[in-house]
Structures are given as C-alpha cells and as structure tokens.
Amino acid sequence: MSDFEHDHTRWLDGQMSETERRKFEASLDAAALEEGVAWRALREAMVRRAGEIETPSPDFFNAGILREIEREVRSPRAEPKRWFSLAWAGAGCLAAAALLSAVCLPGAFRPRSEADFVSQVVSARAANPAISAYAFQAPDHRGAVIWMEGTDYIPGDERVR
C-alpha cells in the first residue's frame, strides 16, 4: 500500500490531525479536492440507502425463523452434559476392550506346539466294501493323506470323519 493510498484513506475518513490534513490537501489539485467532497456526499447517500432497505416479506421472514426454532424446542439438542456422559461411556468401553485384549489375546496367539499341527488317521475303514481307504502319514508335511479307491468322487455332503 502506497503512502498516497494510506493518506488518502485517512483523509476521507477524517482521521488526520489538522496539520496533517492541511499538508495533505496542499498536495492535492482542485479535482482531487472536489473528489473528497463528492465522496462524502456519496457516503451520505449510501448510509441513506442502507436506512431505506426493507426486509422483503417480513411476516414470511419471521415465520421461517419461528418454525425452525420451535422445531428445535420440540426436539431439543443433546445437552453438553449428556455428551460428556457419552464420551465417558465410550472411553470406558474402549478401556474394557483393551483390558480384555491384553488378557485374552496373548493366549490366543501363544506359540503352538508341533502336536497342534499333526494329523493322525485313527481308522481308514470304509462302510461300503467296494471302496478301499488307505491312510499315509506325512509328518514332514504335518499332515496325513487319505487315498480312496472305488469311488469317482466324494459327495459334498459326505462327512469324512
């Protein structure tokens, strides 16, 4: 912002001391001085204009506000106190969940022994004599293979126990 802009603004707003004003006005030509007078007239017109602005449809204006605030009165917003209670309840739940996790999860994720992964076939007997069943242990692969002969497929609803 230039010094001229700063001084001009203060001049129009009557913010200068008498000495400053005289000095500033001496630096202006007649046209610029006229401008100052004209601006003051324009300012008065603007203030007058602002005073003449009316609210359109004032009844409608009030009714809209009233409708909204009465709706709020009928369904009051949650009070801050209630929000605090909810916040405390939430925090309590979180703390309880954290505690449960600390107690239970280490058990759930404890290192499992090799026995947990070894499958053992106890019996390889087939009820249908046309079907033969063989079991092979594969301890290196922690599992067992059941080989069945005499059937093309095992139905989806057949339980292999």
Binding site: A38, T55, L66, E72
Partner: protein, 194 residues
C-alpha cells in the same frame, strides 16, 4: 392499560427460558438492520433473506452464551457480519478469476471527478440513486464490498474491521482505498450531483 414495551434485555431473558414469542419480537425489532447489512455485503436479496434468517436462528441457538456485556443488537450484528464475511470468503475461494486485491485498470492516482459538466436542473430520483448504489456495490469484490460496508455504513474502525474480516489494518485501508475508487468510477457520471 398502557403496557410498557419490554426492553431487548427482558426479551432476551424470556427467550433464554424458551419463550419463542419473545424471540419473535426481537426478530421483528432487528430484522431490518440485519437484513440491510447482509444484503449490502452480499449484494443479493434472495441470499440476504436466507442468511439473515440463519443469523437469527444461530442467535437463538447461542443465546445461552450471550452474557449481556454488550447490547443484544451489537451481539447480533457481530453474528451477521461474521456470517456474511464467511460467505464472502467461500465465494472468494470459488475460482472466478474476476476480482483481485487491486482492481485492474484503476490507477491509484486516477481522478474520478466527472468529465461531463453538471447540467443545471439535474436532479436524481431517489429510486435511481438506490439502484445505482446497489449496482456499483455489486461490482466490487466480496472483500472490498465487506470492508466498504463495514466502514461507510456500519461505521466500524479500521481495527474493528481488521478483526472481523481477519486481515491486517493495512489491508483494510488498501481495500477501502480501492473500493472507493471503484465506486467513484462506477458512479462518476452522477455522484457529484447527489
């Protein structure tokens, strides 16, 4: 029986107790000024209507926080100014590429005195003055218009404007300077005859 009009303070007290009729009376008392302020800052009657209503609804919602240290009208005025400025800012964030801090084509030292001599007997119709002032205000950027309205019409100090608009004292003065220049240019054909 001639019943005395309740003061704003009394109406606020009743409103705080949930009396919507008391608040309705406050709306009636202050709606014209609030609407005029918002209208001049936003430049659109439809938008001003919505925003002015919103101002009163916000005031109702915040009544508990009104401590009565200032007049109700001052408090309400502040809510309205802040809301209008928020809207101006939202508009300014929209890419319009139309306005800048220093309007193009206006030399800071330019003279805006009418080039055509005043004709004797020229008189300006009041409605015409209103129309021209509104149209000239509408040509200003939202920032310039807000500062000009707050200074010229609401008579706020530079410091108060800076605080409300959220800019420096120097920026307020610069915006005022350019807003006035723009208004003078827009109204150059007739403003000396006002």
């Amino acid at each position: 029986m001639d019943e005395e009009e309740p003061t704003d303070e009394e109406l606020v007290r009743r409103s705080k107790l949930g009396n919507t009729h008391a608040f309705d009376e406050l709306v009636t008392r202050h709606r014209r000024r609030i609407f005029a302020l918002v209208y001049q800052m936003l430049g659109s009657a439809d938008e001003a209507m919505d925003v002015a209503q919103e101002v009163f609804i916000r005031a109702w919602q915040s009544l508990e926080g009104f401590d009565g240290r200032h007049a109700f009208s001052t408090w309400l005025h502040r809510i309205a100014t802040n809301r209008a400025i928020d809207i101006c800012r939202m508009r300014a964030r929209r890419p319009q590429g139309e306005w800048s801090e220093t309007p193009d084509g206006i030399d800071a030292a330019s003279r805006t005195t009418p080039s055509t001599p005043e004709r004797p007997g020229d008189s300006i119709d009041r409605a015409e003055v209103q129309r021209r002032i509104d149209a000239a205000l509408a040509t200003l950027s939202p920032d310039h218009r807000a500062v000009l309205v707050l200074r010229e019409i609401e008579d706020l100090s530079y410091e108060e404007i800076a605080e409300r608009v959220g800019c420096s004292h120097g920026t307020v003065m610069s915006r005022l300077f350019h807003a006035r220049r723009k208004m003078q240019l827009e109204l150059r054909d007739f403003y000396e005859r006002l």
